[in-house]
Symmetry: C2
Subunit: 201 residues, 2 copies
DNA sequence: GTCTATAAACCGATAGAC
DNA sequence: GTCTATCGGTTTATAGAC
């Protein structure tokens, strides 16, 4: 069978387009009509695949992004020889990706999280689940370092918060400096924690 | 002259109410009618005081918040005996304020920044100016530490990004843990930087 | 300056033909 | 599954009375 310029199915295109639009302009700033147009899908298809409307579509965007980005970071982590290198690579990669995409390539979860944290409990829980999963994933990945559990968790949370906060400043200032600076700060904290463990031996 | 329960003038109430609503639900999620109602002002007064409409009102909210929050942080910094204590107090204060307000009391600049970074150049510049001012203010305040300029700037940017990112996670997870963890990470980085300078003596 | 009414466009959501 | 038409409500913005 010959396949010419195959494109993902309608449902997949809707989710992908929604995600992309949310990254640039947030949820409230994105209309369903705009989503349908971007996904090259008829308007009715949105309600066909997501009978729960915008809320259901948004929740799927949040959770699927959580899995995708979690996998991406896990790959970076797994290919890095140690914790400090993993931190360096993650921030450097984020900075490059942001610059290449003209500073639109932020995190859709953070944008939506700020919008819904006080207005939509279902979606707030979805964003919280994503952040919790990312933290657990990071902690599990670096347990081998021998850092005390509490210290490791603190460091991983600091990693995620720094990354998310740096995205905000980078996109606003159209500069990668905040990501580089945030990376250095997290790196310094990691080195300090590792040195403390090494001393005990 | 006797003054009974004096309330701020209409214009001030409009800006304050807009700021509060933006903190909870962002700019796109907030309607001008809702703002008028919250400010107990007639709808027409918004366009009377802000002929430029929502854009002009939003820019004033962003810039005035930048000044207010900059002053607040400057007060915390000035009352702290040294850099590490200033960092601890700032994160602890933010965490307390967030918990007390039921996780509503985030940063309006960050929310709006993510919404407009790729859609409204005028407002993007306003958010960038605020972040730049905060960074410059922090650098100037701690020049006395003797840290090299680049290292100090890196640390201050890490401070701001960690604070903003932690706000996102705290509001999503309804927990102050991210702010506490982020504070610890920035603190560790500050200690490491200061120790490096001390060694040179 | 204060307030109301309304225009014109857009929103999310639904119904129903095909 | 695809697509269109439309409903009721909301949005920003304006016009004009008081």
């Amino acid at each position: 069978m010959v396949q010419v310029a195959e494109q993902p199915d309608t449902r997949t295109r809707i989710v992908a387009s929604t995600c992309e639009l949310y990254r640039r302009q947030g949820m409230a700033g994105t209309g369903l009509k705009q989503i349908a147009q971007a996904a090259r899908a008829p308007f009715g298809s949105i309600y066909h695949f997501f009978p729960g409307g915008k809320g259901q579509l948004t929740e799927e965007v949040i959770r699927s992004w959580g899995l995708m980005y979690g996998d991406l970071v896990a790959q970076v982590f797994d290919s890095a020889p140690d914790l400090p290198t993993a931190i360096e690579w993650a921030f450097a990669g984020a900075a490059e990706s942001l610059a290449v995409t003209d500073y639109v390539d932020g995190c859709p979860v953070a944008t939506v999280a700020l919008e819904v944290a006080s207005t939509d409990e279902t979606l707030r829980l979805a964003t919280a689940d994503v952040f919790t999963d990312w933290i657990d994933l990071g902690v599990k990945r670096f347990e081998y370092t021998g850092l005390p559990q509490a210290k490791l968790r603190e460091l991983v949370i600091g990693f995620v918060t720094s990354l998310e906060g740096a995205f905000v400043l980078c996109r606003a200032m159209r500069s990668t400096e905040p990501l580089h600076a945030a990376g250095k700060v997290v790196l310094a904290a990691a080195h300090a924690a590792l040195a403390e463990v090494a001393e005990e031996d």
